[in-house]
Symmetry: C2
Subunit: 208 residues, 2 copies
């Protein structure tokens, strides 16, 4: 059985290389071709120096076609690495509600997304590779910094280091819950963790 | 040049297998033999099921000799894995000062210890191995839980999950500072990080 994310998008890599029912083979192949080219280009150049034009060239397609499939370089990175969290979605979600609930909103979002094995697995695979591969570390650092953390920090008008501290807290919890499996952290309900962690995240995200 | 920790103890593994000046070769070899046996036993049985008696048998020495070199199973694990942080030192240090400064004390201790490459490197090596090896994960989980987190939580009379959240925050920061190298997190002074993180750790370690 192929695992699916909450929105029904396959998250276990089955969309790449395999044909999906109801989609023209040509279209599926082109999208897969672009994603394969994106993975190569991001790994080689890092996130900052990769361009949509360069990825289109690598895939042997027109840049307009890349734009047709992926709204942004960020969106393409998320799809290529099969990440469950897209900054193009997280940032509007964070800013949509009241500022005083932002810590709770972000904490619940991260814990809910990562509670799903199919969404978590590509993230952990990337972390595993990064632990022993400097190029992958560079690629991840650039993406997280420029596509996620700096953008959120700028939107919230807080110093980037506060967003990095919040990220370190949430990432550390996900690692301890799903890789190290510390108890009781690994077994408690999401809402108990939200209650414990949200005030921390809220403090970092409040204007100092 | 061999890196040394603040107290002059070699931390890059040079004490194992090599002879140190001023120490009788026989003594150094026995200690190294016990540590090698400890590493094998911990990897095979995990932390909880390993015993000083079993490690002595594996090393072919008398259990009394193991006690002579290492005060406790915890101390032996720390020496065998070359960890920079010994719970037998951290816990008294945490409890020694006023309760309202405990977050600051723990945060500064962890950041100072990990700021030294020689102390940090064995920890990161262990984390790298753990990411792809379930036995190593089990060994680390048991050690961290029973020798560090539960003991601190019990001393402070707080629920263990609060200590786990604090640990996740500090571990996440060390990972982002030294592996992912997020900026500005990787470059700021320790005291700036202490100011940012200590209130978080203090909140978790306060009696709820």
């Amino acid at each position: 059985m192929s695992e699916q994310s909450l929105d029904g998008r396959p998250v276990d890599g089955s969309e790449i290389g395999k044909r999906r029912p109801g989609r023209r083979p040509g279209a599926a192949d082109t999208r897969g071709q672009i994603l394969a080219a994106a993975r190569e280009t991001f790994a080689e150049k890092g996130f900052d120096k990769a361009t949509i034009r360069g990825i289109a060239r690598q895939a042997g397609v027109d840049p307009a076609l890349v734009h047709h499939y992926f709204a942004s370089k960020e969106g393409m990175f998320v799809a290529a690495m099969e990440l469950p969290i897209n900054p193009d979605e997280v940032i509007p979600m964070l800013l949509a509600g009241p500022r005083e609930d932002i810590g709770e909103r972000l904490t619940r979002y991260v814990l809910t997304m990562t509670s799903e094995a199919g969404a978590r697995q590509p993230v952990l695979a990337l972390v595993r590779t990064a632990m022993t591969n400097d190029r992958v570390v560079t690629m991840i650092r650039e993406f997280i910094s420029h596509a996620v953390l700096y953008r959120i920090a700028e939107s919230l008008q807080i110093p980037p280091i506060r967003m990095e501290a919040a990220f370190a807290q949430l990432f550390g919890v996900v690692l301890m819950r799903y890789v190290v499996k510390l108890e009781p952290l690994a077994s408690v309900e999401i809402e108990e963790l939200v209650e414990l962690l949200a005030p921390t995240i809220q403090r970092y995200l409040d204007v100092p």
